[in-house]
Symmetry: C2
Subunit: 304 residues, 2 copies
């Protein structure tokens, strides 16, 4: 077994096989994974772009087109894509199809694509997405895409780790624009109307801008709405340029992201220690005693 220091060194050299191994370690959540994460050096300035939206909006095709454009226009650019599937790719034909469509890049050594399953992390991102993003930032890639279908609360979690969150819609969404969850409105830094050669694209853009200006109120930052047609490559240059020039989060958002991450890591550590310390069995034994109070027990357990 390679030790964490060696793995970390290979990672920093951009070795894809080591990266894949590191991700597997982190997904399994072992002690070794924590040791590894404690020594890697993620570059904090690498932009993380969240891509979310309803099923069928063409998110993967869009990411695919962006990769293609970036690889052409910026030789040697290193791009990573994390596709976070809310269900196993093996039970969902469309997601599997999306993944396959990306395989065009599999021969490009500068493009790294990985699916993360959400394994028991209900309705949300994979519990380890934050950590895997840190590995990619240590690899280091120049830009990282995290793509997830906007169901459950995954789109809220994506906003917590992305510097810029792109919400992808299709013209057909126009009819539902009034009922689009306000959650989506709040997380989007940018809207993309994909498949915009279809009817209704301009109406959707107009309605969306109207709704945004009503919800956001005067004085707030404008949220841009771009039109693309990923399949034909339309609008991809504008979108890619936007991603590279507008990904700087505000200091307030950066602080919030840092704190959230700290809390997540602390909770993870807590769980690991409780596990090592056989908390479950101690709690069960205690619960059978007369006068047992779970709040008192847990507080006593953690008293230094």
């Amino acid at each position: 077994m390679t030790n964490p220091k060696q793995l970390s060194d290979y990672l920093a050299q951009g070795d894809q096989r080591s990266l894949a191994r590191c991700i597997t370690l982190v997904e399994n959540g072992s002690k070794e994974a924590f040791d590894l994460l404690s020594i890697v050096q993620p570059n904090p300035n690498i932009p993380v772009i969240g891509i979310t939206g309803p099923p069928g909006a063409g998110k993967s095709t869009l990411v695919n087109s962006i990769i293609y454009h970036l690889s052409q226009s910026k030789p040697n650019i290193r791009i990573a894509v994390l596709a976070v599937d809310p269900t196993s790719p093996f039970t969902s034909g469309s997601l599997l199809g999306d993944r396959l469509r990306m395989t065009g890049h599999f021969n490009n050594p500068n493009v790294f694509i990985r699916s993360l399953a959400t394994r028991g992390h209900l309705g949300g991102l994979s519990g380890r997405t934050l950590e895997v993003v840190d590995l990619l930032k240590s690899a280091p890639y120049d830009i990282i895409f995290v793509e997830t279908v906007g169901v459950g609360q995954s789109e809220v979690e994506i906003a917590a780790l992305a510097d810029l969150t792109v919400v992808v819609l299709v013209p057909e969404a126009g009819d539902e624009i009034q009922t689009i969850k306000s959650g989506i409105m709040e997380i989007a830094d940018l809207f993309v109307i994909n498949k915009s050669d279809r009817d209704g694209a301009d109406t959707l853009v107009a309605n969306l801008k109207q709704t945004l200006s009503e919800k956001m109120g005067a004085g707030s930052v404008d949220i841009p709405v771009l039109k693309t047609s990923a399949q034909e490559g339309k609008g991809i240059i504008e979108l890619s340029n936007h991603l590279f020039t507008h990904h700087n989060s505000s200091p307030i958002k950066r602080k919030r992201m840092l704190i959230n991450k700290g809390i997540r890591i602390a909770q993870d550590l807590l769980m690991r220690r409780m596990d090592q310390d056989d908390f479950s069995n101690k709690l069960e034994l205690e619960s059978q005693k007369p006068g047992f109070n779970i709040y008192k027990f847990v507080e006593g357990y953690f008293r230094p």
Copy 2:
């Protein structure tokens, strides 16, 4: 301010005003709330019945009918209902309407009804539902209903705290039975087809039983499917009897519920301590130093 010991005594005597005060304390998550929870004495044998299902299935009307029937047939029975709204009742007409329909019981001193908002606990139950249930078990009520609309992950969380989880469907759900989230299949201890005087009820029962037997496989416990028509009071006696006779969880489920609860309380304590200790600002300061690694920092922070 009444001290925790006094409040706990009033609670044990069944005083509704003290109960309401205790719930407010717990919802606000103060230090005082933890002191209170550390001395109350929840009766572990009181059944907690989870009621979930899609919007419009008639969950509140059903609970209403059960309360009416129980109050009539078991004089002096004390019943508590927690209605956990995934949105504020003030933004959702139908939920508010449901609540109003329950007011018929407001004059019954043996029936306690309370709404909990989910305040920032996205897609799930209120973060404090577990604790509020402990207060109700200390009050003590004879049976506790926790009702929530089955969206996001609230139905999974309800199953984690209920001894018996009832999933309420309407005949119109028949067409979607193949696509009903398998999550719902896994949490249901009992299905109720409400509004069963409508077309399609028998077909739904048959399809549901078919689907259940396929998913569950041989040798597993049968999940009953009952028909009701809450508005006309049909099937309510059978349902109520079932709730009182089938709420005993298996030892395995009881242990799982206990451990989950312990973990939740530990996480809550962790958050409170980090808050008191100004974790956020320490982390932010540290993050500006060269060579900063968040995993190393958090681990050092919690090292005893």
